[in-house]
């Protein structure tokens, strides 16, 4: 496995601290129409105790990425290559039987929808204690005691009573707290939170994110927070990786990313969020079109068909993830935002009347949808 040793060679500096090193991870799904390149060459390393935010639209591959690292893509048409080093152990190619020893104890996941991730016909208590008893080898009564304690620690009122409830007897926020309790039960070192608050109200979202942060600190966990909302990760992640079409297009420490973002996609994501500080009826700058077809992705930069800065070069030559100005700041773009070249490119496109550039400039917007290639 040359890729593994290469990865280790390259990263000797920060590897002592890294809990997770992902190198050139690719997950492809074979379907009748071809190969869906859901994750297509992602590399990163994550130090112990840190939080990585993974941000992107639906279909950018962020969920498949976290599932690939955990080895949850068990369908027969899913195929992962590359390397995932967890605490020095290679996970790619590891049989499911051995992965099961890691799930829950070493790494765990909180899923998006607490309605469907909990079993509706099994009491909360049993769902909580099932894997505790398996992994920790404890008796039923010990497991119950631990579970009630856990429910209390995720701030569920009357945990004793809730232990005997079915999921439908709890509100959405409470159910997500139960999911978090289940994920935390065997004290994992690495926690994946896949859109943990997307299905919840803002007030509950705020509480759940606080709870995750607090539990992470208490337990010294490493966390990967997957979301489509830059607002959710802004104050909560140490680093952010922005994904598009199965690739990381920009990665930087959170403050750096927000202060000097270089990839047009990152900027577009941020600009499309409405802000309470803007006056009413502020025109939003939308990203036109939609994420690309992952079976036959566009040539060159995958974002180029939607990018307001795109030039001929972008459609032909794919940019590689390169170092930015600041430390740990990488991005993949020929015309990075903020550079004079990108301003020129933008002005040129604006003059040429490119729809996505006009949309970004806020001149026109929503009614102009980009032609969709899959229709032809």
């Amino acid at each position: 496995m040359t890729t593994v040793s290469d990865a280790l060679d390259q990263r000797t500096d920060d590897d002592n601290e890294a809990l997770l090193v992902v190198d050139d991870l690719r997950t492809h799904f074979e379907v009748p129409a071809g190969s869906v390149k859901a994750v297509d060459g992602v590399s990163f390393s994550l130090a112990r105790g840190r939080t990585l935010g993974v941000v992107g639209e639906s279909g950018s591959g962020k969920t498949v990425l976290s599932r690939s690292v955990m080895g949850l893509n068990v369908a027969s048409n899913a195929h992962s290559t590359g390397s995932v080093l967890y605490d020095g152990q290679e996970l790619i190619g590891r049989p499911i039987k051995q992965m099961k020893d890691l799930w829950g104890v070493e790494m765990a996941m909180v899923f998006q929808d607490p309605m469907t991730s909990l079993n509706p016909v099994v009491k909360v208590g049993r769902q909580l204690t099932e894997h505790m008893r398996h992994h920790l080898q404890i008796s039923k009564s010990e497991a119950r005691e631990l579970a009630v304690e856990l429910l209390r620690s995720v701030r569920i009122p009357e945990p004793d009573e809730r232990f005997g409830n079915y999921p439908h007897q709890l509100s959405g926020g409470m159910r997500q707290r139960v999911s978090i309790a289940i994920a935390l039960a065997c004290s994992p070192k690495l926690l994946f939170a896949d859109e943990p608050t997307t299905a919840l109200d803002v007030t509950v979202q705020h509480q759940i994110l606080n709870l995750l942060g607090q539990q992470q600190q208490e337990r010294g966990m490493t966390m990967i927070l997957v979301t489509h909302d830059l607002g959710v990760v802004a104050g909560r992640a140490d680093e952010i990786a922005v994904m598009y079409a199965g690739k990381v297009v920009e990665k930087a420490p959170t403050e750096t990313l927000f202060a000097e973002m270089h990839h047009p996609y990152t900027q577009a994501l941020l600009w499309s969020i409405p802000k309470t500080s803007n006056p009413k009826h502020t025109r939003l700058s939308a990203i036109s079109g939609r994420p690309p077809d992952l079976i036959n992705p566009p040539s060159g930069c995958k974002f180029s068909p939607r990018c307001p800065y795109a030039q001929n070069r972008c459609h032909e030559e794919e940019p590689i993830l390169a170092k930015g100005v600041g430390p740990d700041h990488t991005f993949a773009c020929h015309f990075p935002v903020g550079s004079p070249a990108s301003q020129e490119a933008f002005d040129r496109n604006l003059e040429a009347g490119l729809p996505q550039t006009l949309a970004a400039a806020g001149r026109i917007g929503a009614t102009e949808d980009l032609p969709d290639e899959s229709w032809q």
Binding site: E57, P157, T203, L284
Partner: protein, 340 residues
């Protein structure tokens, strides 16, 4: 409010829709009743967008549906263009349905998966529009075009061939095809990605301008509501907390609940400090047995004795800003004004 009153209502002549003391209750059997909406009043001027905002279970969707008489409210009146919809017999109500249309939350499940897009959008016309197929298609094509969907490509395609954002555009075309005066948008963007959400919000603004629409915009995301609304009503457990012109509401929230919602809203800026203390609490009390007095008092840190005994009434903060709270965050006028 958690309170009642109609001090915030404007004159009848200036407004398209007046909702007065709207109450919707669902009997559960026995003596138990779900108090979904309890005495809500608001009005909307022609061409205005009113935002209804609150957590799940606050009655915002029920309010939207009660305007459409789906189902008819338990009591109260809904006056559209001077006509009380609650008093109409079913046949005349039916003829008024063309004036009010609705856009639903989940764009994919709100379109019939077994009918082509051309059919789905034309269906309202089968009932109310021209009977001539070509004429129908002309109208449908115009609407699809207006929402940014290529009519000739989409006509014979099915909803599953479109993305969530495109399905929402198709739903909007269907709502528009009868040229309604009022559209009720029930969380139209909460199932969409931020990038698509921005497209749909911009589209709604454009269409509103073009067709002179009046919108009721229901959502739980404060930033989205502020962006599109002229005035905002904050609801809690079937009651109104605050009603205000939207810039004013976000600049000077008067109700503790509004402030709580604003503080919880994620801000895409890492330099903004996050209040990380809030971890527990904040469960909505049961609408079967709502708290006495102010319904928000169980979650409010300003609550005292009067909040549990007296229900707060709507009081004036400034022009176009009213709050129902005994201990508001900004000074209010002491006297409740009754314009009716």
């Amino acid at each position: 409010m958690a309170g009642s009153g109609n001090a915030h209502m404007r004159g009848v002549n200036d407004t398209l829709l007046q909702v007065d003391d709207l109450t919707v209750e669902f009997p559960l059997g026995g003596d138990r009743i779900v108090h979904a909406v309890s005495g809500i009043s608001f009005d909307i001027a022609k061409g205005e967008t009113l935002g209804l905002v609150g957590e799940s279970g606050c009655g915002k969707s029920t309010t939207g549906r009660a305007i459409l008489q789906l189902p008819s409210p338990t009591s109260g009146s809904v006056v559209l263009n001077g006509e009380d919809l609650t008093a109409l017999d079913p046949a005349s109500m039916r003829s008024h349905r063309t004036d009010i249309q609705m856009i639903f939350q989940d764009p994919i499940s709100s379109l019939n998966p077994r009918r082509s897009v051309g059919d789905v959008v034309a269906e309202p016309l089968h009932v109310w529009g021209p009977k001539d197929k070509d004429q129908q298609w002309k109208l449908v094509a115009r609407m699809l075009d207006a929402v940014g969907i290529d009519p000739d490509v989409a006509r014979h395609k099915y909803p599953h061939e479109f993305s969530g954002g495109q399905c929402q555009r198709i739903s909007i075309a269907r709502a528009l095809v009868l040229e309604p005066e009022l559209i009720i948008c029930d969380e139209p963007v909460s199932a969409l990605d931020v990038s698509v959400q921005a497209q749909i919000l911009n589209l709604l603004e454009d269409l509103k301008e073009e067709y002179g629409l009046t919108l009721v915009f229901i959502a739980h995301d404060l930033a989205v509501v502020k962006n599109i609304s002229d005035r905002v009503v904050v609801m809690y457990l079937g009651k109104m907390c605050e009603m205000s012109e939207s810039d004013e509401l976000y600049a000077h929230p008067a109700h503790p609940y509004t402030e709580l919602l604003l503080e919880s809203s994620p801000i895409p800026d890492p330099t903004v400090e996050i209040d990380s203390e809030m971890i527990a609490g904040g469960e909505l009390p049961s609408p079967i047995n709502p708290p006495s007095g102010c319904r928000f008092r169980t979650r409010c840190d300003r609550a005292d004795d009067i909040c549990s005994t007296d229900e707060p009434m709507m009081r004036r903060v400034s022009d176009d800003h009213y709050v129902a709270c005994h201990h508001p965050l900004v000074p209010v006028e002491e006297v409740t004004v009754d314009i009716s």
